[in-house]
């Protein structure tokens, strides 16, 4: 393991490993086939609990029975407002088993957003995680006449709640069991009635501009895509995955839940979004998909540990990562790795790299997958130098997750790989926009036929909004989001994401938004990495009290300037960033400036900080 020069263990699997042409049928076939094997794992009071396929089937059956007893109709929508927990998966599969439509709502959404999403999706039944999420639903239920019942996963603190519209999951399951005893044919009938062309899930796009749009996916598209995933990033029942990104996001829904459902890979749930680093080490996933922000965080965590270590350790790290990089370079250049280098790598692993991998929790990882946002090629190279292949995939809600992917046989950091075998991808010769066509492409936005028509053209090509190029090997490279391209007052076209990704590679910078459309020069809004900058400030004896004063400290400003200078070197004069501004508030997922996946919303940030931006042009 961990030999970058021999990645023969990553083999595509194009066989159908699980029959079923709907997610529902697939699930019940999986219960049948894999019965006593463990599928889901989650901690309760600090101790790992497991659910076999049989137990999952039992839970899903009871919840589905409960839904039927509530009169949940075929094609009706139920929504789930919860963090990534086992019950989310149960509720989702129960809704699909009733031939219903399942919709996820981000737990960080405010009550008003919950209202919009329930109304737009015509939600009849809403699953909520706990009292906190319940309060959001109760706040807006008067304005949601279609909402019939709210089901609460965790009733802690709600013992005295007496509300006819609210029921606990446990009670729903008990009712469901009784209902199914009386109507033994009801659920099998529903499961059988579920057809491939039925609408299965709604995935609301985060809506960086305007209201979120509900992307509709049918069973056939989902099934087609998970089968396709196995030809791109194959996994099986021996693999362990960590389930931690929001399940309402397409990445975890498809790549986590449904892909694991198809392949039998175990899903290990994190305790909560804050415990991810600890949980990775505990779970030590063998296949690990995450967003760049997570990879950046791991990297900067290692950098911090390194700074606190002894000179000898630092020297050992520098040597080991040098050996790893040399190997990565040779592998990327498709050159062989000679025996001497292999021996050196063995030593480097033993001395340093194994420990670094263990520190992160990727010591068992066969490969890593990154997607959902652009990643710095330097960061990919760093993971390769550790000896772990990192494969970038590219896709979006509308393509049902990954649409292109870098194969292990020929990795190219900075590239998103060739089109996955299950869909066509091409560059629009006129605009440079990437177009996707295939069964994985969504069927449209709910209630928005004209938006759908704008997105999918008459020939069935999805207009992704990403601008890219294709090289001789058929590999694509994204240059930017179409809407984000900056044209400076001097008429120069700038692709901000290149600059931004290079900035984000700095351990001191979490996110950045480059500004400069119709302006004389480029500027940037920077969100600092609190932990690392605090550490820097303390090491340098910089006085600061709270977050805002940290961002104002002249030494911190100089630090960010230095990072900016480093990035500017790589670019031509007109593409260089002249000034920057540090966000003074520490942002959380609840803030409007961030998407639920913790990316800065460009348009919103540009509007909200208009005054500060203008100040940079004075």
């Amino acid at each position: 393991m961990s030999k970058l020069w021999d990645l023969s263990h990553i083999q595509p699997n194009s066989a159908v490993v699980l029959p079923g042409d709907t997610i529902t049928a697939m699930f019940w076939n999986a219960v049948e086939e894999r019965g006593p094997m463990v599928w889901l794992r989650q901690k309760h009071l600090g101790i790992w609990q497991s659910w076999t396929w049989d137990q999952t089937g039992q839970a899903v059956r009871e919840i589905a029975g409960g839904l039927l007893s509530l009169g949940f109709a075929r094609g009706e929508t139920a929504s789930i407002l919860a963090n990534t927990v086992v019950e989310w998966v149960w509720a989702d599969l129960a809704i699909l088993s009733c031939a219903g439509v399942s919709n996820g709502i981000y737990p960080t959404d405010a009550a008003s957003q919950v209202h919009y999403l329930c109304e737009d999706s015509r939600t009849g039944i809403l699953f909520v995680e706990d009292d906190e999420q319940l309060d959001k639903a109760l706040e807006v239920r008067a304005a949601l006449p279609g909402l019939r019942k709210i089901v609460v996963f965790d009733m802690e603190g709600l013992a005295s709640l007496d509300d006819p519209d609210v029921i606990s999951l446990a009670d729903l399951r008990a009712i469901g069991q009784r209902y199914l005893n009386q109507h033994p044919d009801a659920l099998p009938g529903r499961i059988g009635a579920c057809r491939p062309q039925d609408l299965a899930i709604l995935v609301y796009t985060s809506g960086t501009t305007g209201k979120p749009k509900g992307a509709m996916h049918r069973h056939e598209g989902l099934v087609y895509t998970v089968r396709g995933f196995n030809t791109l990033i194959a996994q099986d029942e021996h693999d362990e995955r960590m389930c931690f990104l929001p399940l309402c996001h397409i990445a975890e829904r498809m790549g986590g839940e449904y892909f694991a459902l198809y392949t039998g890979t175990r899903l290990n749930f994190v305790e909560n979004p804050q415990t991810v680093p600890e949980n990775v080490r505990e779970i030590a996933p063998t296949v690990f998909t995450a967003v760049p922000r997570v990879w950046e965080k791991f990297y900067s965590g290692v950098m911090i540990t390194l700074k606190e270590s002894s000179r000898l350790q630092q020297a050992a790290y520098a040597w080991a990562i040098g050996v790893g990089s040399a190997i990565a370079d040779r592998v990327l250049a498709r050159q062989s790795v000679n025996g001497w280098l292999r021996i050196k790598f063995q030593l480097a692993q033993w001395l340093v790299l194994n420990n670094v991998r263990k520190l992160i929790g990727i010591h068992r990882a066969r490969f890593l997958v990154t997607g959902a946002a652009p990643i710095s090629p330097d960061l990919v190279r760093w993971y390769l130098a550790l000896g772990v292949p990192m494969l970038e995939v590219w896709g979006m809600t509308e393509t049902c997750g990954a649409s292109t992917g870098v194969p292990a046989t020929l990795m190219k950091p900075g590239s998103i790989g060739p089109a996955a075998g299950f869909n066509e991808v091409r560059v629009d010769p006129a605009t440079g926009e990437l177009l996707v066509r295939g069964k994985n492409v969504f069927v449209g936005y709910l209630n928005l036929p004209e938006k759908t028509a704008e997105t999918i053209d008459a020939d069935g090509w999805l207009h992704t909004g990403d601008v890219g190029v294709m090289d001789a090997d058929g590999y694509f490279r994204i240059t930017d989001r179409m809407k984000d391209v900056i044209i400076t007052a001097g008429g120069k076209n700038i692709t901000p994401s290149e600059l931004e990704n290079d900035l984000k590679f700095s351990p001191y910078i979490t996110d950045a938004v480059v500004i400069g459309d119709k302006r004389a020069y480029l500027t940037v809004i920077v969100m600092i990495d609190q932990e690392n900058v605090e550490k820097f400030a303390q090491d340098q004896d910089v006085a600061f009290s709270n977050y805002a004063s940290l961002t104002r400290a002249p030494e911190v400003q100089a630090l960010i300037q230095k990072e900016l200078d480093r990035v500017n070197q790589k670019f031509a004069r007109v593409e260089q960033i002249k000034k920057f501004f540090l966000l003074e508030n520490q942002l959380t997922a609840e803030d409007e400036e961030l998407t639920p996946t913790m990316k800065l919303k460009r348009k919103l940030v540009e509007q909200k900080y208009a005054a500060q931006i203008d100040a940079m042009y004075r």
Binding site: E132, D135, S545
Partner: protein, 263 residues
């Protein structure tokens, strides 16, 4: 009553103080300023590091890092006795009166560093003026006083050194709300009448914010918020987490906590 205006000049400045108990870092880079004539307060929950800050200032603990300046003199890790002579008195958490000495002798212990007998006598009178009960009990052993009286004695003992700055560590500890209120009133009087600068550390946020001019909020050994007390009282996080003023939500009984954002 002569009220002494607060000046912008800091009497005490902490720069990036880090203190630890063995391997456990109690404060992790604290910078704060106390301006002459003001009452400044550090709010924080159990274990936030409030007491550690005061102990570090008065020299009982030596910081791992950072510097402390008092009246323009660097007092980082100086001997506590020297620091007292510079005009900085510490009223420790839990009072720490000399139980077997009389109230009067306790007060004289406070004036140990002074040689101006007239001044000491004057201050003794002043102290008895603030806390008449101490005069009544002057010849009793301090150990026989009630908790509230011991707190009064502890504050008075600090005053006897004629300090420029008093560090006051949780005066409300174990006292009834009424007594707490009385003691805070006198603390404010001492500040206004004598111009003594006070750095107050409290868990009772409501009392502390009422009495003080400027406040810092300490969490996990780090300052997360600083502002005038009037402004602090209006902050959402202070209301919810320190003053217990939360809206009860739609159900009328909210149990879950919002996330702190400190803005």
């Amino acid at each position: 009553m002569s009220s002494i205006a607060i000046t912008d000049q800091p009497v005490l400045t902490l720069q990036n103080i880090e203190s630890a108990y063995g391997p456990i870092k109690a404060i992790r880079g604290v910078s704060l300023q106390v301006r002459r004539g003001e009452i400044a307060t550090v709010l924080g929950s159990n274990g936030a590091g409030k007491t550690t800050i005061l102990k570090t200032i008065s020299g009982i603990i030596d910081p791992r890092k950072g510097s402390i300046e008092f009246k323009g003199v660097d007092i980082t890790a100086r001997d506590p006795a020297q620091i007292v002579r510079l005009g900085l008195s510490h009223v420790p958490e839990g009072r720490e009166v000399f139980a077997l000495l009389s109230v009067h002798d306790n007060l004289l212990m406070g004036a140990y560093t002074r040689s101006d007998r007239d001044g000491v006598a004057r201050d003794m009178e002043a102290v008895y003026g603030y806390f008449p009960i101490l005069r009544e009990r002057a010849h009793q052993d301090a150990g026989l006083l009630s908790g509230g009286q011991q707190q009064m004695l502890s504050i008075s003992r600090a005053l006897m050194a004629q300090p420029d700055l008093i560090l006051l560590d949780e005066p409300s500890l174990g006292l009834s709300p009424k007594l707490t209120k009385e003691i805070f009133e006198i603390v404010v009087r001492i500040n206004r009448e004598r111009g003594t600068t006070i750095l107050l550390v409290e868990q009772n946020a409501n009392m502390a914010l009422n009495a003080s001019d400027f406040g810092y909020v300490l969490e996990n050994g780090r300052i997360v918020m600083q502002d005038t007390c009037a402004n602090l009282r209006e902050k959402e996080d202070i209301k919810e987490f320190y003053l217990g003023l939360k809206d009860d939500g739609v159900r009328g009984e909210r149990r879950w906590k919002k996330k702190k954002t400190w803005r």
